[in-house]
């Protein structure tokens, strides 16, 4: 009898210890996007930037999703830090919150720009007004817009608007940033997002020849291929 009690206590102890350990294994990480254009701070609504094609432009709207955050260890193993899709509005200064990221030392940060196929189905994300505002019609492949990037530019016919929209599973971008970082407590990191890189490297986007991309697959694929270079890890936790 006493033996049994002892064993039970021991078992309880391990359970408790384990649960403690499990909690210690994850931390809360906030990620603040820092928007800039080749190093200049982003100021919305004014035509003060110039892209690689030479179009002077403004940024009036930037809404997008980042998802599927993964951390890469020195031995190249990849751990998922957060599987959710996060809606971000640059105007609102959205800050991401990943509640349970793993502890450790990592050599690379990975995430998707857009929403992975399994989650990219209308109704899958909570029906907030943000998410319903990003719906990509069923008739055009369904799911959500990955990005709405809009503003004005000085074209050869005066000021004009542009709307760079990307969606569709084929256009999901995989971003990797090879900057080492450690997670050892609750913390925050800042990722730089250079908006000029949306429109170049490798594919230069000239607003004068096209100011609209929604549903135009070659244009959307080009933009999606540019995205990987747009991000940097500016401040590690």
């Amino acid at each position: 009898m006493r033996k049994l009690a002892f064993v039970l206590l021991l078992a309880l102890n391990t359970v408790l210890l384990n649960s403690c350990k499990e909690e210690a294994l994850t931390y809360n990480l906030t990620i603040t996007p820092h928007y800039h254009v080749d190093g200049d701070e982003l100021m919305l609504d004014t035509i003060i930037y110039q892209n690689a094609a030479g179009n002077p432009y403004s940024v009036n709207k930037l809404r997008y999703y980042l998802s599927n955050f993964r951390f890469v260890k020195a031995d190249n193993s990849v751990v998922t830090a957060d599987g959710d899709a996060h809606f971000i509005d640059a105007r609102e200064g959205t800050i991401l919150n990943l509640p349970k990221v793993p502890v450790g030392s990592f050599k690379e940060l990975r995430f998707n720009f857009g929403i992975p196929q399994s989650q990219n189905v209308y109704g899958n994300l909570p029906n907030t007004s943000y998410n319903t505002g990003m719906v990509w019609p069923e008739q055009m492949g369904g799911g959500y817009h990955f990005m709405k990037f809009e503003g004005y530019f000085n074209s050869n016919q005066g000021v004009n608007g542009y709307a760079i929209h990307v969606g569709n599973n084929e256009c999901l971008a995989d971003v990797s940033i090879s900057t080492p970082f450690d997670i050892s407590e609750d913390g925050s990191m800042t990722i730089g997002f250079n908006l000029n890189e949306i429109m170049t490297g490798p594919n230069t986007f000239d607003m004068d020849s096209s100011n609209y991309t929604m549903g135009i697959m070659p244009a959307m694929l080009e933009i999606s291929a540019n995205i990987n270079n747009a991000f940097t890890l500016e401040q590690t936790p």
Binding site: D45, S58, N60, Y122, G123, P126, N127, T128, S129, T132, G133, V135, P137, E138, Q139, M140, E150, Y152, G158, V159, N160, G161, Y162, A163, S210, N211, Y212, M214, G215, I216
Partner: protein
């Protein structure tokens, strides 16, 4: 015991009971109101200090239909319902008031109000403006009325009638003005089929062909943002467009996207009511878009620089689809009509 102690005790008893009575007199007596809508609708955010109740909704309904609200004010003789008819999705088939009357439908999900977005925020804020600035309600008339004091007590537990409470009741009523039972909704729920013509129009609406969904997307059929869709090419400073509010030249010629729910019933169309039929509206998008600096890029996108260039049949189909957005239950629901 001395007499004075007795006296004090009696006094105490009286004041205690009168105190109790006073509390009773102003106690609320509410029953929660459950608003039903499909799960593809956005989450409904209701301020915690103004939950939906049967009593609040009914009070709001009465206020909406009561000309007492305008007595003595600049809109004497009118009620909200004088310019917002249920049969027209709570709009009016005229532009007598100077601009096209926006319908009252699904505004619970709106954050920008009026054609130029002059009002922002939640319904409680908007109703405060309607009550104080638009109607200049005389609250004494409500206090002296035979029924309102009792209705306010029941709904809000208040013996007072304030602008804030009138606004709260109206805000509850506006949340109740929810429309989600059109033929298109039945189709989305898999309960009803659309005709070939409607389906064809739906495809135009939701693909790059018509590209209507960007601004009139499901489920509210509006993005609640401001756009220039090329109705005019020349900015007229006397027209109070979005730039009149924001001060930004980039907002010239922009107006709020109206919902297309019940659009069949909300003629005349556009902020100034310039079009009478849906055919005229579709023809605008098809061939009459006028360029200017702030025109939405969707209007002049590659391949559609000269409009959508739809065939006659495609235009008719698009109109047929727009008519599937009519919620006949909503406009015929007697629980939404005048309580008088």
């Amino acid at each position: 015991m001395t007499r004075s102690v007795w006296f004090l005790l009696v006094l105490l008893a009286i004041s205690a009971s009168s105190c109790k009575e006073e509390v009773d007199e102003c106690e609320a007596n509410t029953h929660p109101y459950q608003l039903q809508f499909p799960d593809y609708f956005p989450i409904l955010e209701v301020p915690s200090d103004n939950p939906l109740t049967e009593e609040g909704v009914q009070l709001g309904r009465r206020l909406y239909y009561d000309p007492l609200l305008s007595t003595g004010g600049p809109r004497e003789g009118r009620s909200c319902s004088s310019c917002h008819f249920q049969s027209n999705s709570f709009s009016v088939p005229s532009t007598a008031s100077g601009s096209s009357v926006l319908p009252h439908v699904n505004l619970a999900w709106s954050r920008n109000f009026l054609w130029n977005g002059k009002l922002e925020g939640i319904l409680e804020d908007v109703m405060l403006f309607e009550v104080n600035d638009f109607f200049e309600v005389d609250f004494n008339l409500l206090k002296e009325d035979a029924v309102y004091p009792e209705l306010f007590r029941k709904a809000f537990g208040s013996c007072e009638i304030t602008d804030e409470l009138v606004a709260k009741a109206l805000a509850q009523w506006f949340r109740r003005l929810k429309s989600s039972n059109s033929k298109f909704d039945s189709y989305l729920k898999g309960e009803e089929q659309l005709t070939d013509s409607e389906l064809n129009g739906m495809t135009t609406f939701f693909t790059e062909k018509g590209d209507c969904f960007h601004c009139h997307g499901i489920p509210l059929m509006t993005n609640n943002e401001f756009h220039n869709i090329g109705l005019d090419s020349i900015y007229d400073p006397t027209v109070k467009d979005r730039s009149y509010i924001s001060g930004s030249p980039y907002d010239r010629l922009k107006f709020k996207t109206p919902t297309l729910r019940n659009v069949e019933l909300t003629s005349p169309y556009m902020h100034d009511g310039r079009f009478v039929t849906l055919e005229e509206v579709v023809e605008h998008y098809n061939s009459q878009v006028k360029r200017s600096m702030t025109i939405d890029p969707i209007m002049t996108k590659p391949g559609k620089e000269y409009g959508l260039q739809l065939t006659e049949e495609e235009k008719q189909n698009l109109v047929a689809f727009l008519k599937t957005l009519t919620d006949w239950e909503f406009v015929n629901d007697t629980s939404l009509s005048s309580p008088f």
